[in-house]
């Protein structure tokens, strides 16, 4: 799943330089500088209010930046420049399909909006419908479709005019696990087929895992940018979680008796240590029965990385700690 980065890095295709946007005294995006490399899938990761959506709206041309600019293939361009807009395909969080139109009609209008016409537009529409596996349902009105199918069609609509960059705002929000996987399978296939570069916002840890690189945002600022594997490796060690009736008291005692850094996160005592396995028997011996109900040990996830980088939880979609036996992915 996690491919190691190519030795010679592809050149940056889209560069954000000092992008800043303020709202009535609050700086939503604060001097954001970021390079999106040709062909990669870069995820903007952060909880609500981190500045992801504002960044998306700036790049989508819906908001004007207060400062900063972007470069596309090295060329400095205004975000409202039609030649930049033409090269971007966009998927909005709330969707932008017309429910009263068929899938084919939605795609055809999408193609025409970007100046494609006649046979060329129709050819692209059929190509996209085939690529997302919905060509036999192209004449159905999309108002009756499920969330997963609509998202796939959004993907086709965003790419019908052959953009260079695909920009997505929380593309899989509200999708179940199956639809999430189908969407990403199609996305990766389209990325390879069409040679696109992808920039998306997310606060799903499972979505962050499948990105090539992640830019972690907090308070409108970039706090880290690396591959998911490298970010997880920064944590080192393991995460031990104790379910206890009195978590605060237990955390204090863990600090005093074992000399470990323990904190209470969402009602559970959390300890980050280098050798988690060795600590489990010491913990069990150090406390009488009943002081904690369960111990779980796991490798750090991106949600943990995020917590460490920003001091805040990634969001409601972050996975809950799972028992040691169930983890085995890395």
């Amino acid at each position: 799943m996690l491919e190691s980065p190519v030795p010679s890095l592809p050149p940056p295709l889209l560069q954000l330089e000092g992008l800043t946007r303020r709202f009535a005294g609050r700086t939503a995006v604060d001097g954001l500088t970021l390079s999106v490399r040709q062909g990669e899938i870069l995820g903007l990761l952060g909880p609500n209010g981190a500045g992801k959506s504002t960044t998306f709206q700036l790049l989508a041309g819906l908001l004007a930046p207060d400062a900063g600019h972007v470069r596309f293939a090295g060329q400095s361009l205004s975000l409202s420049d039609p030649s930049l807009r033409r090269r971007m395909g966009i998927i909005f969080q709330r969707g932008s399909l017309d429910d009263l139109l068929s899938a084919r009609e939605n795609l055809l209008l999408g193609a025409r909006l970007y100046g494609l016409s006649g046979a060329r537009a129709r050819e692209r529409v059929e190509t996209m419908l085939t690529l997302i596996g919905l060509s036999d349902r192209g004449d159905e009105r999309v108002g009756t479709w499920s969330g997963g199918m609509r998202r796939r069609l959004e993907l086709a609509r965003a790419l019908v005019h052959q953009p260079r960059v695909l920009l997505m705002d929380e593309p899989t929000q509200g999708l179940d696990e199956g639809s999430f996987r189908t969407f990403w399978a199609h996305l990766k296939r389209l990325r390879d087929a069409e040679g696109i570069t992808v920039l998306l916002t997310t606060h799903r840890a499972d979505e962050a895992e499948v990105c090539d690189r992640l830019a972690v945002l907090d308070g409108g600022k970039l706090v880290a940018c690396d591959t998911p594997a490298a970010l997880a490796a920064r944590m080192g060690g393991d995460i031990l979680t104790l379910e206890a009736p009195e978590p605060e008291a237990l955390a204090t005692q863990v600090r005093e008796r074992l000399g470990l850094e323990a904190s209470v996160v969402e009602g559970q005592v959390r300890v980050e240590v280098a050798q988690g396995h060795a600590l489990v028997p010491r913990l069990v011996e150090a406390f009488p029965p009943g002081r904690f109900a369960s111990v779980s040990l796991r490798r750090p996830t991106l949600a943990d990385v995020f917590l460490q980088l920003t001091g805040r939880a990634l969001g409601a979609d972050a996975p809950a700690p799972q028992p040691v036996a169930k983890r085995g992915r890395r």
């Binding site: 989508a60 041309g61 819906l62 908001l63 004007a64 293939a73 409202s80 039609p82 030649s83 807009r85 033409r86 090269r87 971007m88 966009i90 909005f92 709330r94 969707g95 932008s96 399909l97 017309d98 009263l100 139109l101 009609e105 209008l109 999408g110 025409r112 909006l113 970007y114 100046g115 494609l116 016409s117 009105r141 609509r157 052959q162 953009p163 260079r164 040679g195």
Partner: protein, 284 residues
């Protein structure tokens, strides 16, 4: 740049970069056409809207028309009963409601609908406004034309109707009212707020347009409000096109006979569409 290197031979690596680019004007026109086509298709896919568009003005015309018929007397308006007097007002109302409906959808559509993709696309904001205005005006004109089929019932004689004037007044009214509605919708931002604007601004404007009662009988203050009302020119234009100069002058003001409706409505259309384009093109 790869475009220069690969000039003259098919570029396999980056088809998107070497594809001939559509011209700037072609993209504007594409945006206008997409929005226009979408509005027309949507209209015919909502049967309740088609039926309502026809039934509502007919009901309005008969119910209010017959309710006031007994008490309506205007000196000098020979033969112009209330049903006849009221008919042009209902035509304007059809255009107004159509514009309101079209622009109220803009509020939701821009936050979570098709319009987002258009706004983030390569067309200019002016093209977005024009496309939306043309779409909404086309629907308004279709609805108004259907209602106008009832004109013989309102005592309109086919041989005296001034069709060019009627068409010009309706087209310009539709554009002006859509422009006005869109400017309001863009600033108001919520459907609830727009409903308030509708009942405080738009509906009173229609009532005071000379649609329901003539300018002649109004008090001095009211008469001035009515004189400056953009919608008045729409109602008077339709009335003059349908019933001729004499009958219209009897209930309206002196301007009725002067043919000012078309230039005034044109000015309103330009101003309101310009205002809409200004509002929409300000990237917040």
């Amino acid at each position: 740049m790869s475009a220069e290197v690969s000039a003259g031979q098919p570029a396999l690596e980056a088809p998107a970069a070497t594809r001939p680019e559509p011209g700037a004007l072609a993209l504007q026109w594409a945006t206008v056409r997409v929005l226009l086509a979408r509005d027309v298709v949507r209209f015919f896919r909502q049967p309740s809207r088609v039926v309502g568009a026809l039934a509502q003005p007919i009901l309005f015309w008969f119910v209010i028309g017959s309710g006031f018929a007994g008490s309506f007397r205007v000196e000098g308006a020979q033969g112009l009963g209330y049903q006849q007097f009221f008919f042009p007002g209902v035509v304007t109302m059809v255009v107004l409601f159509s514009a309101i409906f079209a622009t109220i959808t803009v509020i939701e559509d821009r936050k979570e609908g098709f319009l987002q993709a258009v706004l983030a696309g390569p067309g200019s904001r002016l093209a977005v406004v024009l496309g939306k205005a043309l779409g909404s005006s086309t629907i308004a004109l279709m609805q108004a034309s259907l209602f106008l089929l009832l004109a013989p019932l309102a005592g309109v004689r086919g041989d005296t109707v001034n069709l060019p004037l009627l068409a010009a007044v309706m087209v310009l009214s539709a554009l002006a009212l859509t422009g006005m509605g869109m400017s309001l919708a863009w600033w108001v931002r919520s459907s609830a707020g727009y409903h308030a604007v509708m009942s405080i601004v738009l509906l009173p404007m229609w009532v005071l347009s000379g649609a329901m009662f003539p300018l002649k009988g109004a008090g001095p203050v009211m008469a001035w409000v009515m004189r400056l009302n953009p919608m008045r020119f729409s109602v008077e234009g339709v009335r003059r096109a349908l019933y001729g100069v004499e009958a219209s002058a009897a209930v309206g003001s002196a301007q009725s006979g002067l043919g000012l409706e078309v230039p005034v409505l044109l000015a309103f259309a330009v101003v309101f569409l310009g205002l809409a384009a200004f509002s929409v093109s300000r990237r917040e």
